[in-house]
């Protein structure tokens, strides 16, 4: 399924998200199951399936990391269920250090300061990865697609770090 086609976009990493939201609403309205209340069972089922597809497509295109993964998948590189191991030592050392910093938050006398500074560090690092990813995806050749896949893998680690951090922050505020 090509979600860019579904939402009438040219496959690209940079898309107009306001336009995406508009088209999502239009598509959703057109296939809404209520409209098919008096139709055959088959029509009703079809409308439910279409709605699910439109929702999946919207989530995929709306979320930058999923959108990038979808682009690579359309180019024949499937990342969603892979068990590939990342071996970039420098990157992983940094991940370790950040995980250790997350552990330190609970023992810190100024936990909120530490949390804020970690949010900033994560955001900076993530921004660089996204900038690089955007450039690589624009090139659309096999070597650069493979490099783009590596950026996506690294961004998944960043997403995990941010999840952990917000979980710790929530706990602290309880």
């Amino acid at each position: 399924m090509n979600y860019f086609d579904l939402f009438q976009f040219t496959p690209a990493f940079d898309i107009n998200t306001a336009q995406l939201a508009d088209r999502y609403r239009d598509l959703q309205r057109a296939v809404h199951p209520d409209k098919f209340a008096h139709e055959s069972e088959q029509q009703k089922l079809l409308s439910v399936q279409r709605t699910a597809q439109i929702n999946d497509g919207y989530q995929t295109l709306k979320t930058p990391l999923l959108r990038a993964e979808h682009i690579l998948s359309l180019r024949g590189l499937e990342l969603s269920h892979e068990t590939t191991t990342l071996k970039d030592t420098r990157f992983l050392m940094q991940q370790m250090e950040w995980r250790e910093a997350l552990e330190d938050i609970n023992h810190s006398s100024e936990p909120q300061d530490l949390i804020d500074s970690l949010y900033d560090s994560f955001a900076d690092f993530e921004k660089n990865l996204f900038t690089h990813l955007t450039q690589l995806l624009a090139k659309d050749n096999q070597a650069d697609n493979l490099l783009a896949a590596d950026q996506i893998r690294k961004l998944k680690f960043m997403a995990k770090l941010q999840d952990e951090l917000s979980r710790i922050e929530d706990k602290l505020l309880d």
Binding site: H81, E82, T83, T85, K87, L92, Q95, M96, K156, K160
Partner: protein, 126 residues
Amino acid sequence: MAYSEKVIDHYENPRNVGSFEKDDPSVVTGMVGAPACGDVMKLQLKIDDAGIIEDAKFKTYGCGSAIASSSLVTEWVKGKTVDEAAAIKNADIAEELALPPVKIHCSILAEDAIKAAIDEYKTKNK
């Protein structure tokens, strides 16, 4: 999902957690990560002049299965030669810990950590 008793044992009493002195020339490090779940694993091997693994330590951020897999391999590699350790397969780890299919990637990560550490050893000793 229920963890096996062996996983719980390693998770609650992990063996050989920690790090060796960074500057120890007999120590090599394997760093690996699993993008799907964000797990990060560091495995360090202390290898003597004869190529025997004297000691091993690990540090893992991840789920119970990832911690158990790395804890188990630190026990297994001790006393082995580098080549014997390199022959450890993820299937052996998964079988010993009775890992369910969705956690097989944790054992793959542990196998890859041994391989990464031994790669560093081989590069160092060329």
